[in-house]
Symmetry: C2
Subunit: 407 residues, 2 copies
C-alpha cells in the first residue's frame, strides 16, 4: 500500500475532485469521530469475525440494500422518514443471520458508557442505535456453529481505535471469499480507503468483501477497481503470469468438489447464497439523513465497478453511510449551478450546517461527494484483496499471483 498519488488522477476524480488525495492513513478512520475495531476468530473451528465502525459521539446514518439475500438489523430505522437520526455504531459481521447477534454486544458496550438515543433523564436510559449487516462464512473454519455472538461485538467495540484500520483477513473479513461464480476463488477480506476533502474533512469507505462475483478479471488477473486507484496508491501492481492465472482458475475449492461440477453451459458451480459485500462509507461532513441515504445508494456504484458480477440475488450487498458532522460541508463541484439564481421559495440548508451558496450548490456538492464515495468503495475492494492472507480454503491474491507484484 503506497502513499497518495501525485501524478495522474484516479478514474472519475480528475474533473470532479482534481487535487484531492487520500487521507493520512487511507482508511475510514481518517474521518473524524470514526473508530474501528475487529474481533478475529481464525483458529479452527472458527474462521469468522466481527468488525465495528464506532461513532461514539453519534453520526447521521443511511443505508442502501441492493443484494438479493441480505441479513441486516436496524436498517428500517435508517429510512429518512423514521425518527431516529443518530447512529452510534455499525456492525459488519460474519456468521450470516446468526452473526447479527454480535450487534447486541456492541449495544451492551455502548450502554455501559451511557452512549445512545436518550429515552429518559437517567444516565442509564439510553438505547444505542447499532445497525448491522452480516455476510455468509458459516462452516468455513470447520464448524457450522462456530460463529460470532454478542461477545464478538463487545470485543470489537472495546478494541476500537481511531488509528489506521487493520485490513485483510480480519474481523468480518476473516472467513470472506470471492469469485466462486466465475471460477476464480480468492480470499476476500476487509478493505478501506479515504480521501481528504476541501475544508479539512475526510471521506472514507470500509468494506468486507465476500462476493459471489470477483474483484479480479479472470481473463487478465487485474483488479476491476484498478483504474479507480491513485497511480501510486499500490506499489508495483501488474498483471499476473498466465500460468498463475490458469492454476487459480482451475483450482477446485476444498469441500466443494461434489457440489455440482460444471453446468451444461460451462458455468462453474458457486451460485449459492454464501456471499455478500457489506460496508460503510463515512464522512465528517454534516449530512442530513436524506443525504446520508443518497450517499449510501450511490456508493454501490463502486461495488458495481470493482466486483463483477455485483448485487446478485445470492449477495446481500448492503452499504451504510455515516456523517459525523464535525467538519464544514465541503464545497465540491460548481458553487452555484443555477448561475446565482436562487430558485424561488427554495428551502435553505438545515440550520447549524456549513452553508453552500444555495440548495442547488449543496446538491451539487452531494453529487460529487457521492461519486467520490463510490470511488473510495472501489479502492477499498482492491485493498481488501491485496491485504488478505490465504484461508478458508482459498489462496490470497498475493499468494496466487506472486508475479503480479513487482515490489
Amino acid at each position: 500500500m503506497g502513499r497518495p498519488g501525485e501524478r495522474r488522477s484516479p478514474r472519475g476524480l480528475a474533473p470532479l475532485g482534481a487535487g484531492l488525495r487520500p487521507g493520512p492513513t487511507n482508511t475510514i478512520t481518517d474521518v473524524e469521530g470514526i473508530e474501528v475495531g475487529h474481533r478475529t476468530a481464525d483458529a479452527p473451528p472458527y474462521c469468522t469475525g466481527t468488525t465495528v465502525v464506532l461513532a461514539r459521539r453519534g453520526a447521521v446514518g443511511g443505508a442502501a440494500v441492493r443484494g438479493g439475500a441480505p441479513a441486516t438489523r436496524e436498517t428500517d430505522l435508517l429510512c429518512p422518514q423514521r425518527l431516529v437520526d443518530q447512529v452510534h455504531a455499525v456492525v459488519l459481521t460474519g456468521g450470516s443471520a446468526y452473526g447479527l447477534d454480535s450487534a447486541g454486544g456492541v449495544m451492551r458496550y455502548l450502554e455501559e458508557r451511557s452512549i445512545g438515543w436518550r429515552v429518559g433523564t437517567g444516565r442509564e436510559e439510553v438505547v444505542p442505535i447499532v445497525p448491522a449487516a452480516a455476510l455468509f462464512d458459516l462452516g468455513r473454519g470447520g464448524s457450522f456453529a462456530a460463529r460470532p455472538d454478542p461477545g464478538f461485538g463487545y470485543g470489537a467495540a472495546a478494541g476500537a481505535t481511531s488509528g489506521a484500520v487493520q485490513l485483510g483477513s480480519v474481523g468480518a473479513g476473516t472467513g470472506a471469499l470471492t469469485g466462486a461464480a466465475v471460477g476464480l476463488r480468492l480470499k476476500g477480506g476487509v478493505g478501506s480507503a479515504s480521501l481528504a476533502l476541501p475544508g479539512g474533512g475526510h471521506l472514507g469507505a470500509l468494506v468486507a468483501v465476500n462476493a459471489v462475483g470477483s474483484a479480479v478479471d479472470p481473463e487478465s488477473g487485474r483488479f476491476y477497481g484498478e483504474p479507480w486507484l491513485f497511480e501510486d496508491e499500490v506499489q508495483g501492481l501488474g498483471a499476473p503470469a498466465e500460468h498463475e492465472l490458469a492454476a487459480a482458475r482451475s483450482a477446485v475449492p476444498p469441500g466443494r468438489a461434489g457440489a455440482g461440477g460444471k453446468g451444461p453451459e460451462g458455468a462453474p458451480p458457486g451460485w449459492r447464497a454464501e456471499s455478500t459485500v457489506i460496508g460503510v462509507v463515512a464522512t465528517d461532513a454534516p449530512l442530513t439523513k436524506v443525504e446520508a441515504s443518497r450517499l449510501a445508494s450511490v456508493a454501490h456504484d463502486g461495488l458495481a465497478r470493482a466486483v463483477v458480477p455485483a448485487h446478485t440475488i445470492f449477495d446481500g450487498d448492503t452499504l451504510f453511510a455515516l456523517a459525523t458532522a464535525s467538519k464544514p460541508f465541503p464545497l465540491l463541484g460548481a458553487p452555484d449551478p443555477l448561475g446565482g439564481a436562487e430558485p424561488p421559495g427554495a428551502p435553505g440548508p438545515p440550520t447549524g450546517v456549513a452553508t453552500p451558496a444555495s440548495p442547488a450548490a449543496r446538491a451539487a456538492s452531494l453529487a460529487v461527494l457521492s461519486e467520490l464515495a463510490a470511488g473510495c468503495v472501489a479502492r477499498a475492494v482492491v485493498h481488501a484483496l491485496l491485504a488478505a492472507t490465504p484461508g478458508a480454503g482459498a489462496p490470497s491474491y498475493r499468494s496466487a499471483f506472486p508475479s503480479a507484484q513487482r515490489t
Copy 2:
C-alpha cells in the same frame, strides 16, 4: 457497428456466458414480442422526441429508479406487490415531466386496437398499461415549450416495428446531451444492444443517454463501457488524439457561457437537474414480476460502469424490465447450485414456466441473466454515443474525435 464478436469475450461474459453472441440486429427488437418506434422532432424550435418500446402481446414488467430527480409514470404499479402483471408499452421521452403526456398517446393507440388490461367484457373495455420515464431536454431546440405531447407517443407507437432499432439522435435521444459535469459535453442519444440466449431466446437493452456524467473518460477519450463490448462489435475504435480531446474539454456549450464558470475547486459548471438516463431491458424469457424487478435493479450496474458519475441527484436514472415469456427460461450458470439437494419445503417455480432443475438453479439463472443485462446496458450506452450526430449545441463523439475511428 460491427458483427458479433468471435474471439475474446467482453468483460464479465467469459465465465458467465461464454459462447454467447449478440442477436441478429444487436438491438432490443431481437427479443421476440418487442417492437420499437421513434418520433423525432429535430427542426427548431424542437430538439426532442419520444421512443416507444411496444409489447403488443403484453410483457411482465419491473422498474428500478436510482437517480435523484426522476420523472416517471406508472412505476408504482410495477412494484411486485401490486396487482397488474402485464405491461403493453414503455415510453421513453424528452420533455422532462411535461413529456410524460406522450404516454397518453400510446394509450390511445393501444386502446384503439383493444390492447390492454381487461376491465370488462366489451372489446373496448381495456386499460393499456404504459409506464413512462422522461429525460430533460427542454429548450434545446430554442423553445422551452416545444416538447412531446400525446401525438408524439401515438406517432412513435404507430411507427413501431420489430426491425433493427434506429440509434443515435432520434426519439427520446434527439435532444440528449452528456458530460456537462465533467466538462466534456458530447451529444447523447438512443443506444441498444442484445445477446442471444441458450434455448433460442434473447436479452436486449435500449437506453436514452442524457447523463450529467460522461460515457467517455475525459482523460483518455475512451468509452468507460468499452471493456464490455464484444471485440469486433465496434470496428476500429481507438483513442482520440490529444488535441481533439483538449478541444472538446475546453468547449463552452452555447447558451451556458454565463452559467457560473469554474467553481472554486476547479470543477466545471453543469450540475443541474437537466439530465437522466432512461431505458428498458427486455427478454423473451418467462420472468415473474419479482424477477423482472430484480433484473431492472441489477441492470443499473451497467450504467454505473458505462457512465461516470452515474445515478447523481441531478439524474433521474430509471430502467424498466420487460419479459415477453415467449421462449423457455434459459438455463444459465450451474444447473443446481445446491448439488441436487432441494431445500426442504422450497416452493416450486411458477406454473407455466419452463423449469430449471430447482428454485436455486432458477435463481442462479436469474443472477447470470441480470449480470448479462448490465452488460447489454453498458454496450447500449456506447452505441448511443457512437450513433449520435451533432446537435443541441454539442458535437458527437464521431465529430469531436475523428482520429478515434480507424475505419
